[in-house]
Subunit: 272 residues, 2 copies
Amino acid sequence: MKFIEKLVNATRKNRSLLCVGLDSDPAQIPDGLSVIEFNKAIIDATSDLVCAYKPNVAFYEAQGADGFDTLKRTVEYIPDDIPVIADAKRGDIGNTAKAYARALFTHFNFDATTVSPYLGLDSLEPFIEYQDKAIFILCRTSNAGAVDFQSLLCESENGSRLLFEVVAHKAGQWNIHGNIGLVVGATYPEELKLIRQMQPEMPLLIPGIGAQGGDLALTVRYGVDARGEKAVINSSRQIIFASKEKDFAEAARQAALALRDGINRQLAELNM
Amino acid sequence: MKFIEKLVNATRKNRSLLCVGLDSDPAQIPDGLSVIEFNKAIIDATSDLVCAYKPNVAFYEAQGADGFDTLKRTVEYIPDDIPVIADAKRGDIGNTAKAYARALFTHFNFDATTVSPYLGLDSLEPFIEYQDKAIFILCRTSNAGAVDFQSLLCESENGSRLLFEVVAHKAGQWNIHGNIGLVVGATYPEELKLIRQMQPEMPLLIPGIGAQGGDLALTVRYGVDARGEKAVINSSRQIIFASKEKDFAEAARQAALALRDGINRQLAELNM
């Protein structure tokens, strides 16, 4: 099954555009729990409320070999009908890109990964060749420093465009297998609107609501496709660390439910 | 000790600008050897001939938890006076960038890492804060796809500049701790010349000679600083896979010796 079908199926089954970010920093989880125990409890508590999970590879890598074992077991534990997106932001060339793609898609069995565009198409091809997997290319990220390069005005084949617009445009040209999406931060709603207009069919992975301050109503309005789908709205800390006490899993469920339903209320206001 | 001192000390001690890339793909190493055994033999055979080693993290990550254990043991095995650069091309934000920096600099104890510029300064600050460590920012990479974005003409505060020039310029502005370098592919000698002119003091990590076809004479001429130093000229497969038989370590030594001495002959021609 193609990634996009798996994503849309999960969205419809769970009536959800919510992606839970499994940024399970060991320093933040309740005392006495291992990361894998924590993740399993979060997944058990939320898997009927999400369209995807997104573990951030950095938090696992920081634990060395043990962390990678935890990451693999986390992906295995997630129900088969929920896509799992690696937040890895990889970008490398040739054999290295192939090795990263193999690691993420074959060893860890992720359904998709985030990638960096800076090295160009040949750095992305080894990922794109996995036609049932997908990539989300960093386009307009949610951080303040995003403007340093992403908002430079560039001469492109379509005239003067901001760098992130050039990225969005080329992503469309490169999307021959229908397995490319874009990462667009919720903290820049006007840019999100522009990118959705440029790529009406692409899945958009949208971090930046919650702790980072993105506006939910605008995120939903500008992020979804014409059917009110294909926006993957990520929240991490706000959900998984909703409580740091023994009730953390139930608190995560309540936070996920509130956010999923909040997104759905916005869709309802848009008659979607 | 600052990274740049460690690098220059190793260059002078070993009379070498050569960096050996430990891209130790298990599929390529001689039968019957583990990756750590292979790496130890390569390091034993070459550590008096190099200014640095550069393991490509992807090849280790592809092996999961075992690969990360091998990577850690490889860094530990390299003599203390030879800097070790992680080819990791990381680029992420906030807590994630902090986690990557901690993983690479604290857990694995690398001296430096390659990083991607696309997310801007706040994605690099968590690395820069390790003042005795260093980052090499991807500027003009050695692959064909580099042109897709890196050579876009941009409006910058200095007028119209190619994107990689803007990256090189900003890297200079951000270099308050003297621990920033740039990655510039040997396959684009004119761009290398331009970048060295823009940043006469920065260390440049230069992949792309050998298998990728970069010209050694131009790489040396355009890559070094005014003292004939601070160019870190990387070769990976050409050295570590010089032979795939039992004599692989001796063959690697001969290949490293030939390349180091070839670089030094170019320096001699430049009276350096």
